[in-house]
Symmetry: C2
Subunit: 323 residues, 2 copies
Amino acid sequence: MNNKNNSPQLPEELRSFSPVTVIGAGVIGISWTALFLAKGLEVRVNDVRPDLEEVVYKGLEQMIPTLKELGLPTEGLKDRLIIEKNIERALDGAAVVQENGPERIAFKQELYAQIEQFVSKDTLLLSSSSSLKASDIAEKMDTPERMLIGHPFNPPHLVPLVEIVPGKNTASGAVDRAVAFYKALGKNPLILKKEIAGFVANRLQAALFREAIHLVMEEVVSVKDLDEIVTSSIGLRWAAGGPFLTFQLGGGQGGFPAFLKHLGPVLEGLWDQLGEPRFDDATVQTLSDLSASSYGEIPQMELKENRDSRQLSVLHALKEKSK
Amino acid sequence: MNNKNNSPQLPEELRSFSPVTVIGAGVIGISWTALFLAKGLEVRVNDVRPDLEEVVYKGLEQMIPTLKELGLPTEGLKDRLIIEKNIERALDGAAVVQENGPERIAFKQELYAQIEQFVSKDTLLLSSSSSLKASDIAEKMDTPERMLIGHPFNPPHLVPLVEIVPGKNTASGAVDRAVAFYKALGKNPLILKKEIAGFVANRLQAALFREAIHLVMEEVVSVKDLDEIVTSSIGLRWAAGGPFLTFQLGGGQGGFPAFLKHLGPVLEGLWDQLGEPRFDDATVQTLSDLSASSYGEIPQMELKENRDSRQLSVLHALKEKSK
């Protein structure tokens, strides 16, 4: 296998990253595959699942409308796609690997020890892991310097964020290449300075969601109304500017120090009252019931299409703005 | 004072809510005033501050560009505005009061006991309070049934959310009228079923911000990168659909119960590791320094204009979508 099939439309800044091998054809892996193909990269998809071909083709088909709405070409994607159940053949000649395997540390350690045998020394190895550390994943590798986390926010073909988290042995050159790769794909890669469980986005999400659960369990608000409160206030705000910028601007001319002085005590007062729910059986049952009473009447596909359509509108609006 | 000055463009659904008396001409009060005027209502602004006239006119002037971008008329706003330092005269004939006084319970209790003497029995009394309960505010009133919280998310002329929080003595008819009033203004009023400190949006914001502070204090990420992580993932998501809908869709065909089953334990694992920072002097100093090193080079006005412009784009996009 080689680069011969590189698309003529492959942009200059992506040439050194083709072909890409995607390991693991779950939801994330297929979404990455769709984006890589639409951007002109040659892609090999590898997974041991027996229905691999069917699941990849079906998944790609479902993502095509979104790719179109994102303004990406969707013709001839499969011409640059190779589906390969044998991992050695799938990795042959890969410039980049984007791995999306199961989140089990022992599994990933074995996988990466195997991957490094089948690729060249400068192949960039990126894991989509949302919970494991590169330092741990690379523990059995001889060449951990080119391995790091490139964690997308689901689904990767739509949401811009990629959290870049190097391990203790990752070389700075590999971090630079990963950033260049994701930027060339139109993503927004942000580098974390320390390895931490859950990284940044999922920790912030977990913190907010814990209080969301508390508020619906305490019957302060319905599931649907809580969602609407978020979309018509903080969600809207944080699509335009993050929480620190929001509060810096909230401080007026005095900026963030003025904000902290005036509203710091108010925030601390609220922190002391935040809930600490757990997912015991009764809570899971109640949450499932409450969620069903808010959304259960509407087919899941309709909810998804409405949300995705709103999501694309917001993305378009912000993209226009950043031009 | 009477309704004679009602604008001919005052929409039918707002006629029974004019004139409005705005008490307290701080940032929130002036923002409400701008919106009320732009929607065609007659408005009286009351405050004891000696520079009242100057501060109201200057504030309105600053909000006009945003009103324009929202597609609202901005001609002749002052023709329907009366600035009145005497509270009795300001309240004479008011159909609605939107109060934005200092957040001190004793002050508000006295204020409302005074307000009810100067208005008719069916004047709707709405407090912008972000932290006090209607049940407490109305404690010294003879007619608490028409008093409730109508808490906007700052700034009210731009952000759609209004949290409606009735007190223990608020009549359901007053809640209905408040909802009708805010809806007629193009806002998104959501009713809370229980009085709780901080209501919903600010509690959720406080929960996320606590972890945001933890992550920058632990040097996992810079202030600016954390903001970018939010805007390019969860902020974007929550502008299109709230946290429960997000996770319901994250569960695929199995919906929310499937999500809870698979990712509940992951969330609980993260909850156990969330930070619990406090605003001690050292933390406030470090946060101020970190914020300055991320945003200190850019003038506050430029940051604000960029953010507001992105905010308006997102609002427009979502408005188009909901048509």
